[in-house]
């Protein structure tokens, strides 16, 4: 199924004693669990970087609407190009993710958890079902978990069906409810009005695993790693032109140059940090740091060697967004198609500088006016490639 493990460094996850996080959480009040997560400085590992403690606190405080329950949703709709860390976590550390979900349920008072697994990962389903079944036997799921009366929680798996936009939390909820995965207007936020109109926390696979580690090891330990604003370790999915592609664990705040050295990608011409929705960083900026305060990422690192054609890269990303835009709002639906058309003109050497400027203006409109994160971030790659590689993409004479 997974012939070669993608792990390239040891993970902290390997050394955490099973269920020690849950045990610690069971000894705390709900407010103390959330305080611990807040104090650790943990921020969403899916890319957006929202403080996890704040999210849990809002959901804990939110009122349940008549006859309903709160929900914990694990976002395993890992679709960002160049990202595959969640695949490795789910295959090798599923227990830790489910433990994190159970801790989240205890903290906010949820009865049901849902793992939203992307359609492309359907082959993992038997493994994950088996882990859930074992946890039910171990009394780690079900009624009166670990012997505590009134602590009832179970987890279901919901399969996605191939739509990148469903990684956006409100689109994911729409999809869970059986609808088209079109993002909702926010507010209201899912912590208040989420799945089935009830308070819902939606967290990334990696975030939940870290939450379990923090309860096991302490907020202080987590906070002591990384930078002031970006605490802790982060898993990086590294692919492209390097000697050792795979999943790495590094503290946040690592510079692009250091990272390249560790993965065997020295001499790279550019690095795409954050996947298709991220930024393309040229060699002159390799001293920048990967952290929420500098270059933020969900963990995707794609390395481009000296021989790569950056316009080809921009074209691939724009084709991706044209395909994956849900089509609901105009800036994203039409904007991405226009940018792709512009890439075509550049390719044929028929694009004036003035038109490039207009496309950059359009990109700004998309960043400002799109409804969800997909549209807001879709021009990023195009803009950074145009900015840093003008010499390469303008005035082409070669027609492929």
């Amino acid at each position: 199924m997974n012939p070669v493990s993608s792990k390239k460094t040891p993970f902290t996850f390997d050394s955490i004693e099973p269920e020690s996080g849950l045990k610690s959480a069971l000894g705390k009040s709900r407010a103390d669990i959330i305080a611990e997560i807040s104090a650790s400085g943990l921020r969403g590992r899916g890319g957006a970087g929202f403080p996890t403690g704040t999210k849990w606190n809002l959901a804990a405080a939110a009122k349940v609407k008549a006859g309903g329950n709160k929900y914990v949703v694990c976002n395993a709709d890992e679709g960002e190009p160049g990202t595959f860390k969640d695949r490795v976590i789910l295959l090798e550390h599923a227990d830790l993710v489910f433990e994190g979900m159970t801790i989240g349920a205890l903290a906010v008072g949820a009865k049901l958890g849902i793992l939203y697994l992307r359609g492309e990962y359907v082959y993992m389903r038997p493994h994950l079902d088996a882990v859930l079944q074992r946890r039910r036997h171990q009394k780690l799921l079900g009624t009166a978990i670990a012997g505590r009366e009134g602590f009832d929680f179970d987890i279901q798996i919901h399969m996605g069906a191939g739509a990148y936009v469903c990684g956006e939390e409100t689109a994911l909820i729409e999809s869970l409810e059986g609808c088209r995965g079109e993002p909702r207007n926010r507010p209201p936020f899912p912590v208040d009005t989420g799945f089935d109109g009830q308070p819902t926390i939606v967290n990334n696979v990696e975030t939940l695993a870290w939450a379990a580690c923090i309860l096991s090891r302490s907020a202080h330990w987590f906070k002591s790693i990384g930078t002031d604003k970006s605490a802790g370790y982060k898993l990086f999915s590294v692919s492209g032109d390097c000697r050792e592609p795979g999943v790495y664990e590094f503290p946040l705040g690592i510079s692009v140059a250091e990272l390249l050295q560790k993965v065997g990608g020295e001499g790279a011409k550019a690095v795409q940090v954050g996947g298709a929705s991220g930024h393309c960083i040229p060699a002159s900026e390799f001293s920048r740091r990967i952290a929420f305060e500098d270059i933020s990422t969900g963990g995707s690192i794609i390395v481009f060697g000296p021989g790569r054609d950056m316009l080809e890269v921009a074209k691939n990303f724009m084709e991706f967004f044209v395909e994956e835009s849900c089509g609901q709002c105009t800036p994203c639906r039409v904007g991405n198609a226009k940018l792709l058309e512009g890439v075509g003109l550049l390719e044929r050497g028929e694009c004036s500088m003035q038109y490039v400027q207009e496309l950059l203006g359009l990109s700004e409109t998309m960043q400002l006016a799109s409804k969800c994160g997909l549209g807001q971030s879709s021009p990023n790659a195009f803009v950074s490639i145009v900015k840093h590689f003008k010499d390469e993409i303008m005035g082409r004479t070669l027609v492929h």
Partner: protein
Amino acid sequence: MPVLQELQRNHATISDFAMQVIADELGIHPAEVYGVTSFYAFLRQESRGRFVFRLCQTVSCDLAGKSRVACQLENDLGIGFGETTADGRFSLEWASCLGMCDQGPALLVNDRIFTRVTPERVHEIIDECKRTFGAHARQAAHA
């Protein structure tokens, strides 16, 4: 959605008739069912082959040599992307990132993932499908 996914698995297609039945059962308008079916890449109204080949078209697989694998798939199956063979056995499609970026090019055949696919291996994969298809056909005949 689980209803549609199950239907897709068993019948390889979601017909207008099926959508109408689902709408009646759920008490919603068939247009809503159609809306959902047409939204997701893994749900389709058109008939698909017994084996759906989805080649990852994302940049990492591109760097790893996706285009030659794509070309060989087209040659060996005798169809282009978005098409199904006349005997209804194979469909060929593009997929957005399959999450195998460190082991590309990646190919998803129904529920099975193949990594580091080379143009040479394409033929083996197709052959293997043909063998299991035979077994499947016999089983169905006995049932």
